[in-house]
């Protein structure tokens, strides 16, 4: 089991050049269709020119079904690429939002002058004398203030009115939740906890997956068998169930245990991917040549094999972010995820179950969640198209 065909059987079908599906309109090219074993026609190919005015089409070999459910390979790249750009843009915007969450929504101003002292970015540094000050007093006594877009933080600040389940108003653009906390601020700050968390979890799983996958692929034999068994064993658990189990089993579930649990469920996929790529690359002539020239195994791995793995890893990472965000939101929704009080979309949405008339609790975090997942999926899809020539 040392070749590519050791991946699951449904993925190991030999690539076949195939004709596009024919419906009634396209019956003429059918007669001139090339035999399947001939190389695909290029644009200079006379046979292709004979096929009429239709642009010569070659259907790509069947890649494994893409995760995001889009495979508009009929026009390779174009649609996907455009959507991927949108996805990338939205993803970057979300990342910006998470970085500048304090500027967008905070109970403290961006800058202000109180009692003769100028505070710069107190919403980030949170100086003690402002932190404990009643916010209405602060507003009244400040000489001047630059306020954030929404003047509420994800938690209730001293002096804040506790108005639970308030429908969207100008002061609370997305309403308030059951504790009277501003939904807009919680959603914005939730972006931070979700994206930072997801990126960290993805990086952790990438590190572990690459390490073990490279070991399995490089050394083969017993190491491969061992890693293979571990991968199979861990991926035998539905991810959500395993994370639930770990969160329930540890004495004190924290964000760290959640992080470890999610990273634990993600790495087998990465390891499988890396192992396959490393094994494939190891048989290539340039790797043999490097070995023959006396390069150390580590150098061969790093300089000659890893560049092949990088592209699929970027794709897996991008899709992984959306998966982790989804898992975390589901756990928060079930109230077994983030610790109480932390800003999280899932937690806000879970409040909707107790207050079914407060639609804003479900709608806004829900939309943002779907947008995030779609964005990262589209990005992953476009990256797959752009970076991984084999799947095109």
């Amino acid at each position: 089991m040392s070749d590519r065909s050791s991946s699951p059987p449904r993925r190991s079908r030999e690539p076949k050049a195939s004709l596009p599906a024919d419906d009634g309109r396209e019956s003429i090219p059918l007669l001139l269709a090339r035999p399947a074993h001939e190389p695909p026609p290029s644009s200079q190919d006379p046979a292709a020119l004979l096929a009429g005015s239709r642009r010569p089409k070659t259907t790509p070999p069947q890649a494994p079904p893409p995760l995001a459910g889009i495979d508009w390979t009929d026009n390779p790249g174009a649609v996907t690429l455009r959507l991927g750009k949108i996805g990338f843009l939205v993803g970057a915007l979300l990342l910006m939002l998470s970085i500048f969450a304090d500027v967008v929504a905070s109970d403290l101003p961006i800058a202000c002058k109180v009692h003769g002292t100028v505070f710069v970015l107190p919403n980030v540094t949170r100086p003690h004398q402002l932190e404990t000050m009643d916010r209405r007093v602060l507003a009244a006594e400040a000489d001047w203030t630059i306020r954030p877009i929404v003047a509420h933080g994800p938690l209730l600040a001293p002096g804040d009115e506790r108005v639970p389940l308030l429908a969207p108003t100008s002061a609370h653009p997305l309403g308030t939740d059951r504790e009277g906390r501003d939904v807009f601020a919680r959603v914005v700050h939730g972006t931070r906890s979700y994206l930072v968390f997801a990126l960290a979890a993805v990086f952790a799983s990438l590190a572990l997956g690459v390490f073990l996958g490279a070991i399995a692929g490089l050394f083969g034999g017993a190491a491969d068998a061992l890693v293979g068994r571990i991968v199979e064993s861990v991926s035998a658990f539905p991810p959500l169930v395993l994370v639930l189990g770990i969160q329930a089993a540890v004495p004190e579930p924290t964000l760290l245990t959640l992080f470890l649990a999610i990273a634990l469920t993600r790495w087998p996929e990465i390891a499988r991917l890396v192992r396959g790529e490393v094994m494939l690359a190891s048989t290539r002539d340039y790797v043999l040549a490097a070995r023959a020239l006396g390069a150390s195994p580590l150098r061969v791995l790093w300089r000659h094999i890893m560049p092949n793995v990088r592209a699929p890893l970027v794709v897996a990472g991008s899709v992984g972010v959306s998966t982790v965000v989804l898992t975390e939101a589901s756990l928060d929704f079930l109230r077994v995820g983030a610790p109480a009080g932390a800003a999280s979309w899932g937690e806000t949405m879970s409040q909707f179950r107790d207050a079914p008339s407060a639609w804003w609790l479900l709608a806004f975090p829900g939309v943002l969640l779907v947008v995030t997942i779609v964005a990262y999926n589209l990005m992953g899809e476009a990256l797959r198209n752009a970076l991984d020539p084999r799947s095109r």
């Binding site: 599906a21 069947q62 995001a68 199979e232 064993s233 639930l244 189990g245």
Partner: protein
């Protein structure tokens, strides 16, 4: 073909072993009660309670290898040593010897004469509760050290013949067959020495009257509750019997002697891991701390709900997803294809709980029962099924035989539905097998939203009340279902596609 299926099934064994290790590691994450509340060694009651807590999770055993497995003889030796020295553990050991009772006597009484008189008296006094349980001896015989020592020496002279396995087995067989005060008296006199046989009969007998007698005897010698009334219904009978058997599973080593080969197997079997795995395999998953019911029975009651829901959802998503995939492949590049592609992407990206919540909010008035949860759950696999169907359909439509069929003049509809679809369904059918466990995972969320009482709903309640036994059992169940589905899906793929079968057989042979 059978060989192929068998080979694939055997390949799952290492995976199952790994799965059991992962879940076992999960249980070791749990805090050790000893570490949580250190107890003064003088407080005997608290120490006994703590020991019980730890033993229920086999924390007294080493993890993977037991070099010196304990049996009643080892325990008695240790306790005797402590009592002779009279150290801090002495009171704890007194309590323990009283609890071991009749099973300890064959290892204690013959050696009583070798012990100096003062210590002999102390040990004999520790045995007083055993004599009271047996209903023998006068109070003065039991409470004065030298008289007690004499009493027990005499007891052993008279009664050592009764402390043999065949004799006890015969007695227990008789009491199982019919009511008899005389034999009950006999069993009382050997005390806990009869437990092994009592438990053996308890596990094999179905007769409620016999079970009532057996549980009465067991409760008497152990001082535990759990006597079955002869009029108890089936559920109560099952609960009590399984409670006794799981107690025995934990405490067996206290009352039996390991002989010869048993010692070797015990070095593996008397470990935390082996005890846990064997318990799981035989359905001894312990008791739920939330409501005191046997975990196994609860699983039997809850799992069909979840698995049934997942199966229905799989059916629905296939019935909807396959036509979508076929349509998209047939009209490839057409707006229909792009439209369905967009829908598929959206359905894939909307979290299950959001779908469920929306359906629950807008559909609650209709009171559709099982329909809405199944619908919500089916969105989990809908997009994957449609996508897979589209991809395999595109591939098949490009193949030679499809072209031949068209060249011979078959109508488009016939080519798509008869010639192409049959082959294009094969990968989708196998994907369905892999999707099943994903649906089981999704069911956890859906059950919570719709308040469906399946394993997911139960698990979330268990997390709230820290019912660890249940969580471990559910995690294990899910992993086993997943592995089984994977194996089934691979076998089905081989069944439906001879090329795959050949390739796999060749690969595994090489």
């Amino acid at each position: 073909m059978l060989a192929f299926a068998l080979r694939r099934a055997i390949w799952a064994i290492p995976t199952l072993f790994g799965v059991s290790l992962v879940v076992f590691l999960l249980t070791t994450l749990l805090p050790d009660p000893e570490a949580e509340a250190p107890i003064a060694s003088g407080d005997v009651g608290a120490r006994v309670r703590l020991e019980e807590l730890r033993r229920a999770r086999f924390l007294d055993l080493p993890r993977l290898l037991n070099v010196a497995p304990r049996d009643v003889r080892v325990t008695v030796d240790e306790c005797t040593a402590h009592l002779v020295v009279g150290d801090v553990d002495a009171r704890f050991c007194e309590e323990r010897i009283a609890r071991l009772g009749g099973a300890a006597l064959p290892h204690l009484l013959p050696r009583l004469d070798d012990i100096p008189p003062a210590e002999r008296g102390r040990i004999a006094l520790a045995l007083a509760p055993v004599a009271r349980r047996m209903g023998i001896g006068e109070e003065a015989d039991l409470t004065q050290p030298d008289r007690a020592a004499l009493f027990w020496s005499r007891f052993w002279e008279d009664r050592s013949v009764d402390f043999t396995e065949p004799a006890v087995r015969r007695s227990v067989q008789r009491i199982t067959a019919r009511e008899s005060d005389l034999i009950e008296q006999e069993i009382r006199l050997v005390d806990t020495f009869a437990l092994r046989e009592l438990m053996r009969s308890l596990g094999t007998t179905r007769d409620p009257a016999a079970l009532a007698r057996l549980t009465r005897m067991a409760a008497h010698v152990t001082g535990r509750s759990g006597v079955l009334e002869p009029t108890a219904d089936r559920a109560r009978t099952r609960a009590v019997v399984s409670e006794w058997l799981s107690w025995w599973y934990v405490h067996e080593a206290d009352y039996v002697v390991l002989q010869g080969g048993e010692k070797v197997t015990a070095s593996v079997a008397q470990t935390r891991y082996a005890k846990w795995v064997l318990g799981a395999v035989t359905g001894q998953l312990g008791l739920s701390t939330r409501d005191g019911l046997p975990i196994f029975d609860k699983l039997l009651a809850r799992a069909p709900v979840t698995l049934g829901m997942a199966l229905l959802a799989l059916l629905v998503s296939s019935l909807v997803g396959v036509p979508i995939g076929v349509l998209a492949a047939w009209r490839r590049g057409h707006p229909i294809d792009h439209g369905t592609g967009a829908i598929i992407l959206l359905v894939y990206s909307i979290p299950t709980f959001l779908v469920a919540e929306l359906l629950a909010t807008f559909g609650r008035a209709s009171g559709a029962g099982f329909v809405l949860p199944v619908l919500a759950l089916s969105t989990v696999s809908l997009s994957v099924m449609a996508q897979q169907q589209r991809a395999s359909m595109i591939e098949v439509l490009g193949q030679d035989y499809v072209r031949s069929a068209r060249a011979k003049g078959a109508r488009t509809l016939r080519v798509v539905l008869v010639h192409a679809l049959r082959n294009a369904l094969v990968p989708t059918a196998t994907i369905a097998g892999v999707q099943f466990p994903v649906l089981v995972g999704g069911a956890f969320v859906v059950e919570e939203v719709f308040d469906v009482r399946g394993i997911g709903w139960e698990t979330l309640r268990a997390i709230e009340s820290h019912d660890v036994a249940w969580i471990v059992a559910v995690t294990l169940l899910c992993a086993i279902v997943t592995t089984a589905c994977l194996v089934a899906s691979d076998i089905a793929y081989g069944l439906l596609d001879p090329r795959v079968r050949e390739r796999q057989t060749r690969r595994q042979a090489s």
